[in-house]
Each structure stands twice: as structure tokens, then as C-alpha cells.
Amino acid sequence: MSTDEPESDLDTLMSQDPLSLSNQDLDRIIAYQRKMRGLREAGVKVRKPKAEPGTVPKLDLATLMAKPAKESSSFKRRV
């Protein structure tokens, strides 16, 4: 039983029809969970791997930080 299951393989296994999973497939899934627990117990932070470069749209910080253009108000508060 392997405990070195890469997460992408686990994703593949978990995306399959569960009824089609063999005992070996299930053992791999369980082994992966146990490995993750072991890493957490050892203090290793477990996170999902980052997406491949280019697959996530880049945020343009300059645009996000820019103040919106002042629009003329259609009504004014009376004082």
C-alpha cells in the first residue's frame, strides 16, 4: 500500500464513479488520508498545490487600487 499518493491522483480517484473503485483504489485513498494526518501531526502545513502558471487570471493591482472616477451626482442633499 503506497502512502506517497500525489494529490492529483487522489483527485482523479475521487472523481471516479465510486462504485467502480477497486479495493486497491480505496486503500490508496485511505492511505492518503493517513499520510495527510501524519504530516499535520508533524507540524507540516498541508495545502492544496498551487495552480499551474497561466491557468489563473492575474489581478491587476494598479487597476484595483485606483480610485473610481468622480461621477456627477444626480441629486444633492439639502441642508
Binding site: 462504485l19 480505496l26 493517513r34 494526518r37 499535520r40
Partner: protein, 334 residues
């Protein structure tokens, strides 16, 4: 008395009324906490959009443990039982796809559920709590109960057609107490109910202090004694903390209940149910505005904080109204 020996009514309410005669710890808890909360959830079926995630996660966690217990009591070895439990879990949760951008979906999704179940089974592999085996040879897990109290709603007059068609005892409906016991266990030579809880908060002394006094735990102790016809010492609250970066954590805490505590709870129950009848007769369920901040804040807090005239619009915008057959029903089997 269990579900197997009782006919199954469709609704927990007396026909043609808003008088509830079948109660479980959830609906009774709503009533005791705030009659308006009870109205919104039990009578009108409003649920927050995220509630289905918590409910589904809890149901599947319970079902996985039940699967495992059944497999083990049928003679399966540990690894075989874990494998079959995981297989059944994956089949059941194939359609479970919560939105991961919500807090509920972030903590409660198929991956965290699978991790929690495997961690749980490994953690309690050599469980000091031994599952009680019933007289029929089945393990005492996920036991549905339903039994009558010796009083019922007063002042209720059944619809005429019912009175004409049915014998009198049929429409003199007593109150029913209903629910599900997760597991009956023998621990240190005593029988106790074990109740599974999942939480994202730390199961500290403060967390467990919330279970004494506690409506659900007292009801379950009483129900266990009625259903099993034996002495039940109390409930072991078993908390599973869902963690994302540290290992999931499991902590148990026994919550004992004496006969005096149970008797007091039953006496108080009569007053609470009388109040429920009075609310139904008046068609008004008053707000308990001292309970709005409990447990991180009531789900309907935003609704109740708005003027009464616009609350229906707030409910419609932020909540889902379940059709009557999908609403919380204490007599619906799991």
C-alpha cells in the same frame, strides 16, 4: 417504543392546527430558545442557504460511523470495515458539492468529511466504549425512538370529519417524544448514550459545560431508559473538531443525569408544551430578544432586527422556504 412498532403519521402537527404533538430535541430546543425561532423554522420552514451543508455533513458523518459499527459487529476486520465504510461514504456523497467559498463549504466538504471519517475510525480503533448489543442481536447504533407521554394537547378539538370517522381514542392524541440515539455503549460498567457532534471550535471545558443542563442530553438519557428499559447514566458527548491545518481532534465528555434531573425536565416540559399550545391558539410566537446572541448569533437575527412590516421580504431574500414535506419533522425516520 421504536419506529418498528408504531404507525407512521405524516405530520408532527395535529390536523388543521399549528399544535405540534410529536417533539424531538431539535424542535423543543427551538421552542425553548425563542418561540419566534420555532415559528420561522418549524412552522414556516425557513432555513439559511448554508444550513443544508451542515446538515448533510453531519448526516453523512453519522451514517459512516453507523456503517462501520454494523460491519464490525457483523465480524468484519478493522481494515475491511474501514474500506467498506469509505466506499459507502463515497457513493453517498457523490452529489455533495458545497460552495467552497462559503465558511460552511470551506470546512465541510467531501474532502474534509473523508479525512474526518478515516481519522475517527483510526482514533477509536481500540474504543474503550463497547457498543451495546440489542436483544435482536443488532448493535445499538442509530436507534430511532418514539414514545407517548401520558398527556396530550388540551383543548384540542379534532376536525368533525375525523371525529365522525375515527374512534375517540384515535383523535385524543398524546404527545410523542421522538429522536435518534447515535450509539448505546457500555463504559466503565455503565450504560450510556454516545452522541456524535462535529464542530469547528475547540472542544474545551467551556464547550462541554454547554451540555449541562442541556435539553437534548436529558431527553436522550430519558429516552434511552424508556426504549431499552434499563438504567442509563447519561450521555457521552463525543466532539469531533474539524481542523484544516492541524489534525482533526476527538474529545469525549460524560454528561451524567440523575433521576431527579430527568423528573424536573419532564415537569418543565409540561409547561413548555402548554406554552406552545397557547402560542398556537393565539397564532403568535413571541420573540425572545435575550437569546439572539446565543452560539454566535441566531440565524434569524438580521430578520428580527428589521421592522415587522419588511421581515417577509428579508426572509425571502436571504433564506430558503422548504416545502412542507421537506421541513424538519421529528417523526420522519432517518
Amino acid at each position: 417504543m421504536t419506529d418498528e412498532t408504531l404507525p407512521m403519521p405524516q405530520s408532527p402537527f395535529l390536523p388543521g392546527t399549528k399544535v405540534q404533538f410529536a417533539w424531538d430535541s431539535t424542535s423543543l430546543g427551538y421552542l425553548k430558545t425563542c418561540p419566534r425561532l420555532y415559528q420561522y423554522h418549524m412552522l414556516e420552514g425557513w432555513v439559511p442557504k448554508e444550513e443544508s451543508v451542515h446538515l448533510r455533513f453531519g448526516q453523512e458523518y453519522h451514517a459512516a460511523i453507523q456503517d462501520y459499527e454494523n460491519l464490525r459487529s457483523a465480524g468484519a476486520g478493522f481494515e475491511d470495515a474501514v474500506r467498506d465504510t469509505v466506499r459507502n461514504l463515497l457513493v453517498r456523497i457523490a452529489d455533495f458539492d458545497p460552495d467552497p467559498t462559503t465558511k460552511a463549504g470551506h470546512y465541510k466538504n467531501p474532502r474534509t468529511l473523508l479525512q474526518l471519517v478515516v481519522d475517527y475510525l483510526d482514533y477509536y480503533k481500540d474504543d474503550p466504549c463497547e457498543t451495546f448489543i440489542l436483544e435482536n442481536g443488532k448493535p445499538g447504533v442509530e436507534l430511532s425512538f418514539r414514545f407517548e407521554l401520558d398527556w396530550g394537547p388540551e383543548g384540542y378539538v379534532a376536525p368533525k370529519e375525523m371525529r365522525d370517522a375515527e374512534p375517540e381514542e384515535k383523535w385524543n392524541q398524546p404527545y410523542l417524544l421522538c429522536g435518534h440515539l447515535d450509539r448505546v455503549v457500555r463504559y466503565a460498567d455503565e450504560l450510556m448514550i454516545l452522541d456524535h457532534k462535529t464542530t469547528t471550535t475547540t472542544p474545551s471545558d467551556y464547550y462541554f459545560a454547554g451540555f449541562s443542563p442541556n435539553n437534548q442530553m436529558t431527553l436522550y438519557t430519558f429516552a434511552g431508559e424508556v426504549v431499552l428499559n434499563t438504567v442509563i447514566k447519561g450521555v457521552i458527548v463525543e466532539a469531533a473538531q474539524i481542523c484544516l491545518e492541524t489534525p482533526n481532534k476527538f474529545v469525549r465528555s460524560p454528561q451524567y443525569r440523575s433521576n431527579e434531573v430527568i423528573e424536573e425536565w419532564l415537569r418543565d416540559l409540561e409547561y413548555h408544551l402548554n406554552a406552545a399550545e397557547a402560542y398556537a391558539a393565539a397564532n403568535h410566537w413571541p420573540m425572545n430578544d435575550t437569546a439572539c446572541g446565543n452560539y454566535g448569533g441566531c440565524r434569524f437575527r438580521e430578520v428580527c432586527s428589521k421592522p415587522a412590516a419588511i421581515r417577509d421580504r428579508v426572509l425571502a431574500a436571504d433564506f430558503i422556504q422548504l416545502p412542507p414535506d421537506q421541513r424538519w419533522n421529528p417523526i420522519k425516520p432517518r
